[in-house]
Subunit: 532 residues, 2 copies
């Protein structure tokens, strides 16, 4: 591994030299601003050895650094190959851009694969470097060039049609809703976020683990006087070869995934106006249309977030079935942990849970990597048990399971915390903390408000926290995130936190997940998905 | 009255003509952006006959309009003299500036007394007219010119020193706190809000009913290397003639009230920087220093709002005594209303309450005009009982009393709602509404939060409303306002509403006053002042 690590860095540096780059920066990101990424986009894992979900790498002529956060310090130190140094992503530490600024002299160039950065953030970053007289240039991803034939191919998995009994709304109707919202303000709307595309076309895929999405871009044309809405879908043709009739029926023209850039160049040369969300659109595509773009934030995302009545019923139904599976698992644990030789650990427990879920005929796998943690590990908010070396489960400590499933009729995300009172019972403090967390869950899930008031997550965050605050406790994470309908377990635009001012409307689903964490001792979290 | 009304308007129009004005606009406002104004500033009452607390008048060559809000429609219609037309200040009605725009042609002039409008708001307004090619010019208040010798003189009442047992902090210490906050950013700070001046100098006055303030402007000089802080106080000399030694001891130079404008002109011609709050500073004074001003928002207001430990103790003590007086009043009512010939009405009840309060040796009068209302009148949120024609009190309907006192050790504002169950008992709905209002009061007053979090009124407004929301009820006013310490009953910058993001800190006092109002039937409000 050591020579290979060096060889890879040398190859990157050769690519940098041929482009006159002083520095190359690469992110843990795909071209669609996805939270989870596919194997072909795991460039940081390939080039540095570090396989965590948060990383930024900077390679200079004689240095290579990788930034990540506190969850990954230990594993990054172990995994990083020779020639790499880990950097802490913390308020008091040097940022990657400050590092670049310190390494690069005026007039020199920094290369970035612009598809890895949303346009709006790139603007901020580019302006920072411009002030320093450092030029940021868009380059192909140099990691891909080094990776070469070894790079996993982009999934050719088939896209599936999701039946109306689950979506509740025909695609042509969804076009109408989007067109109404655009209200003639643009000639076309570019959609680049994978879950928005999947929702609009009533299609699902398998290209990213946990997220039933498929790689594609989409341009929606609201039509002129004829009001006939149509779509151009940029996707590998083989993925939708079984869906020709359906796609034709919903006015979709299929063109190759890679053609998006060329088409946007043509768009920019026309007199037409194109809408796009610059918080999501990658900076590379943005370059082509920056003169003709009309900023349209969260158009599809906002419509998608308010679940229709079919989706609402589906969310309820899948949550009931999911809870039944969880109860089976906890009942199983209760019996199993009494056996001295049970052999269950955090990882195998999570696998057992996924198995119980998979018995449901509508289940399509887990919706995220389970957090299955015992004792002090439960205090680590984003803990994921390793396959090798997970802690053995026991009935003397608090056990926390945060897991969820993808079902044809919805997406779940549930956390339960239990203590099986073996030789030890939970302490009075643990019981009090649990009770106060539960009071927060209940207060938040029972809130009712006037539909005439624009009430947001910011207005109600206090309900989940006040019972903890009353005795000087709190939790250092958001109270709740939006949840998709057989889509991503995290979606916007609404959430429950002091900072989210998006008006909550009927059909919005959010998680309700206060907690309490005592470092080095135990962790408590209780989570339900609740619906407006 | 009719001829006089006409004569007054004719006189105003003559003044307009001599200044080539197409239109003159006058506000219910003084030069200090005060909520309550003195008799000499009641220009709208003089010129139009309407004596409500919210009014804007526009006089053109052949028209005269007066805008007010829903509280005053009935009384305004009665009071307005000949030649005047009442306009409704509502979202769907024509605004005064839209009216002016419709009346005045391009290139013509609109006259406004700039002392009646805060600088920041005037900027917005002037820009509106500029777009329409209408010139807004600063003129002396034309009403004053017509009013002439009949205009009440500005109060010459003596200013009093407030003892340290009530203020808790010497003026020289307060200077130090202000200077620290300015941190060398300006050479001087202009303070124009009357309660801020009173607080800083530990002085109180009697120039405005209910508010123990005195007309003045103040410039604070933080000093240079010598760190000797000093103040120039612009005030009528006779008002502070008894305080010469004190003022000298706190480095105050007294100069005439009117000299402020001239001094600011001189300031503008120097190289010095002066700080001021453009939300408060009137537009006339702002004109003189607009090139040298540094915007400093709420410097004194913010320090003043966090009561020191002496003020905190005073607020607690005066609230206890005030509550005792209120309990005496309600006990008195309970007995009195049983008598068929009791003769008590809403107005005489309020007077009785003020009398009971005045028996406290530290009482210095009411802190605002009492809202004393029975039955359907209690549903009118800002109802003030008229001296003549107030409703007779009874023990068959809900009675609401919202009143407060000024005390040397603090300011109170308390609302109690009672039903004395004479021949009728309160209905089940009234009892439920009362209970839900009370639950909101209690939830809000008991909230505890981590001092490390920047928690504001916006975060907790929901606590006062959620028990009402749960059954489809709500109230259409803010939940709580800041309260002064033997100062104005309304003060900032903090309050309890969904829109106030000012961080709540120790010593902040706010009212906690949810309510429920059933139009035409009854009103409920329960109010305590609570302290962080």
């Amino acid at each position: 591994m050591v020579e290979q690590g060096n060889a890879k860095l040398s190859a990157i540096r050769a690519e940098m030299a041929s482009r006159d780059l002083e520095c190359f920066v690469c992110f843990h990101m795909d071209a669609h601003n996805s939270e989870y990424i596919a194997p072909c986009d795991e460039r940081i894992a390939y080039i540095s050895g570090f396989d965590g979900s948060n990383g930024i790498v900077v390679v200079t002529k004689d240095d290579a650094r990788m930034w990540t956060d506190g969850r990954y310090y230990l594993s990054a130190e172990k995994q990083l190959e020779e020639g790499w140094k880990m950097m802490k992503w913390e308020a008091t530490e040097q940022t990657w851009f400050a590092f670049v600024d310190a390494q690069v002299e005026k007039g020199q160039k920094v290369g970035i694969d612009f598809t890895q950065y949303p346009a709006k953030s790139m603007k901020t970053r580019t302006e920072f470097f411009k002030k320093k007289d450092i030029e940021v240039v868009s380059v192909p991803n140099l990691v891909d060039l080094v990776w070469g034939a070894e790079r996993p191919v982009r999934s050719e998995g088939k896209v599936q049609l999701l039946a109306k009994e689950y979506t509740g709304q025909d695609t042509l109707d969804k076009y109408e809703t989007v067109a109404k919202k655009l209200d003639g303000s643009v000639d076309a709307l570019l959609v680049t976020t994978l879950d928005d595309i999947a929702w609009l076309l009533n299609l699902r895929g398998n290209d990213i683990e946990y997220n039933p999405v498929f790689f594609s871009y989409l341009i929606f044309y609201p039509g002129k006087e004829d009001k006939k809405h149509s779509v151009t879908l940029y996707i590998s043709a083989g993925k939708v070869s079984d869906l020709k009739d359906y796609l034709e029926s919903v006015n979709v023209t299929v063109v190759p995934y890679e053609q998006i850039a060329e088409d946007l160049v043509n768009f920019a040369e026309s007199d037409l106006k194109i809408g796009a969300d610059v918080d999501q659109l990658n900076a590379e595509l943005h370059r082509h249309i920056k003169d003709v773009i009309v900023e349209k934030s969260s158009i599809v995302e906002t419509i998608k977030a308010a679940k229709n009545t079919t989706e609402q019923a589906g969310m309820r139904a899948c949550n009931v079935r999911d809870c039944a599976a969880i109860m089976k698992y906890f009942a199983f644990l209760e019996e199993e942990l009494k056996k001295p030789d049970h052999g269950l650990d955090e990882y195998s427990g999570a696998m057992k849970m996924n198995h119980l879920r998979s018995l449901d005929p509508l289940n399509r796998g887990p919706s995220f990597e389970s957090i299955s943690s015992i004792g002090a590990n439960a205090a680590i908010i984003h803990y994921a048990p390793p396959k090798e070396g997970a802690e053995k489960l026991n009935n003397d400590e608090i056990y926390l399971l945060d897991s969820g499933g993808q079902y044809l009729d919805g997406t779940t995300d549930i956390t339960r915390t239990a203590h099986f009172s073996g030789s030890k019972a939970p302490t009075a403090f643990q019981k009090e903390a649990y009770t106060r967390v539960l009071l927060g869950v209940l207060d938040l899930e029972r809130i009712v408000w006037p539909s005439t008031s624009a009430i947001s997550g910011a207005d109600m965050d206090i309900l989940a926290r006040r019972h903890l605050w009353a005795v000087g406790l709190d939790f250092k994470h958001g109270t709740g995130h939006g949840v998709g309908s057989y889509l991503n377990v995290h979606e916007g635009p609404q959430n429950i936190s002091r900072y989210n001012k998006v008006k909550l409307v009927e059909g919005h689903c959010v998680s309700d997940e206060p907690g309490y964490y005592k470092d080095g001792e135990f962790g408590i979290r209780i989570e339900n998905v609740i619906m407006v």
